[in-house]
């Protein structure tokens, strides 16, 4: 008889627990005299929290190429870059033509810009992006760093705010053309019209005549 007590307690506990679980199902039923519950549906809208950018070329293409050596038949012609150190433009700073529009379509952000190596159509040796100050890209090796050396090239973007003289690097960095608010900061809807100047290499190892490169704009969080 003494030994049966724990079993009785266990069974009783299980029964109580079962009652408790079952009770959960009926506890929500309102008493007969209780008032009816009423509710109201509310909706709320928030501002978008997306960081985004759009880039729109306005019939942009490299043209107005100058420089090179006519005596060696390697001078620039029309939209073709010459050697050594020919220049080609998308837009024209002297005429105030800035064909590329960069718009911050998201929340306020810092707008960064960077470039890539130039790839020849035959898949051979690339041209490496260089900068005059050597920050974020190798330093240009001709004319005391002012001009690209062999298999190097320089890209400068410009706008009505001025020209990025040191050049665009391979690592994303603050685009100084977004200077209206300082620190390359752009609020939602703010845009900038820009052009691009490309300075070609002193000489090219690869003999391809078609090259591709990419300039990328990136909105970046700022913790300042």
């Amino acid at each position: 008889m003494r030994h049966k007590q724990p079993l009785v307690f266990a069974v009783a506990g299980l029964g109580l627990a079962s009652l408790g679980i079952a009770g959960c199902g009926i506890s929500g039923k309102a008493p007969p005299n209780a008032g009816q519950a009423a509710s109201v549906n509310l909706s709320l809208q928030t501002v978008p929290t997306i960081r985004s950018v759009t880039v729109s070329p306005a019939s942009a293409s490299f043209g107005t190429c100058t420089g090179g050596l006519a005596s060696k038949n390697t001078h620039s012609t029309g939209g073709k870059l010459g050697f050594p150190n020919g220049h080609c433009f998308v837009g024209l700073a002297t005429s105030g033509i800035y064909p590329i529009t960069i718009t911050n379509t998201g929340i306020a952000s810092a707008i960064y810009v960077n470039g890539t190596s130039a790839n020849p159509s035959d898949g051979g040796s690339q041209w490496i992006l260089c900068r005059k100050d050597g920050h974020g890209a190798p330093a240009c090796t001709r004319a005391d760093g002012r001009l690209p050396g062999t298999d190097q090239y320089l890209v400068e973007n410009f706008s009505s705010a001025g020209e990025q003289r040191a050049g665009i690097g391979a690592t994303p960095a603050c685009d100084p053309e977004f200077v209206a608010s300082g620190r390359c900061w752009a609020v939602q809807g703010e845009s900038q019209n820009e052009g691009i100047e490309l300075v070609g290499p002193w000489s090219s190892t690869d003999t391809s005549t078609k090259w591709t490169l990419t300039i990328t704009w990136t909105p970046v969080p700022s913790h300042g």
Binding site: H3, K4, Q5, P6, L7, A10, T49, I50, R51, S52, V53, T54, V55, S56, P57, A58, S59, A60, S61, F62, G63, G79, C88, V90, P99, I100, T101, T103, T105, G106, I107, A110, Y112, A118, T171, P172, I196, L198, K210, W211, T212, L213, T214, I215, T216, W217, T218, P219, V220, P221, S222, H223, G224
Partner: protein, 207 residues
């Protein structure tokens, strides 16, 4: 002569109208502004599912997106190595205004140094619009943050299916009940009465 002038003027107006229409094509990409964070701490040797990152095509052209890990924005902590973040489920293409949530997995090597890690998740839109031989690209960045602490990898409960947890709980409860019974000395005896005996005893009561 006048007709030629008028035709030229009309052509000029047509070009002025046509150029802005062509210029409306744009490439764009967006990413969630909120940082991608691991809810708890990571341990060396562990693999963790990061919250999926939201990306959207804000341009007018269909584009595919790529994700890379790069330290761009200012912040403190160790730089997250690209190899630690595994990206899966990238959509082949996103139309104008379309969005997707891209799953990310954090794989921390066994020899990882403890501390706070910080980098950016950089989403690149690849619908490059060609300008001569220059492609104009877009990207958008958001923070990536997590902590690595020393210690063994603790497998999260949420990684086990719920039915397994219920089954384990039932087995443990039954085992405890059985143990309790054995320790208290209680025994359950099952008796089976034969039909004849039952009838006999029943008849006896009737008498």
């Amino acid at each position: 002569m006048h007709l030629r002038l008028r035709l030229s003027a009309a052509l000029g107006v047509l070009l002025l109208v046509a150029v802005p229409v062509a210029a409306q094509a744009s490439v764009g990409v967006g990413v969630q502004a909120g940082p991608v964070q691991l809810s708890g701490a990571a341990h060396p040797g562990g693999t963790y599912a990061l919250p999926p990152v939201y990306v959207v095509n804000t341009g007018t052209e269909p584009e595919s997106v790529a994700i890379r890990i790069e330290r761009i924005s200012p912040g403190t902590g160790r730089t997250v190595p690209q190899a630690w973040i595994h990206v899966s489920g990238l959509p082949s293409s996103l139309g104008h205004g379309q969005s997707a949530r891209i799953p990310l997995n954090l794989v921390v090597p066994a020899g990882a140094k403890p501390g706070r890690y910080f980098s950016d998740v950089v989403v690149t839109g690849s619908a490059d619009l060609t300008a001569g031989s220059a492609h104009l690209g877009v990207a958008a960045a958001t923070d990536l943050e997590f902590r690595v602490v020393p210690g063994a990898v603790s497998h999260a409960w949420f990684s086990v299916p719920p039915w397994v947890l219920v089954a384990v709980a039932v087995i443990v409860a039954l085992s405890l009940a059985l143990l309790l019974m054995l320790r208290s000395g209680t025994s359950i005896r099952v008796e089976q009465a034969t039909a004849g005996a039952a009838a006999g005893s029943g008849g006896g009561r009737a008498a």
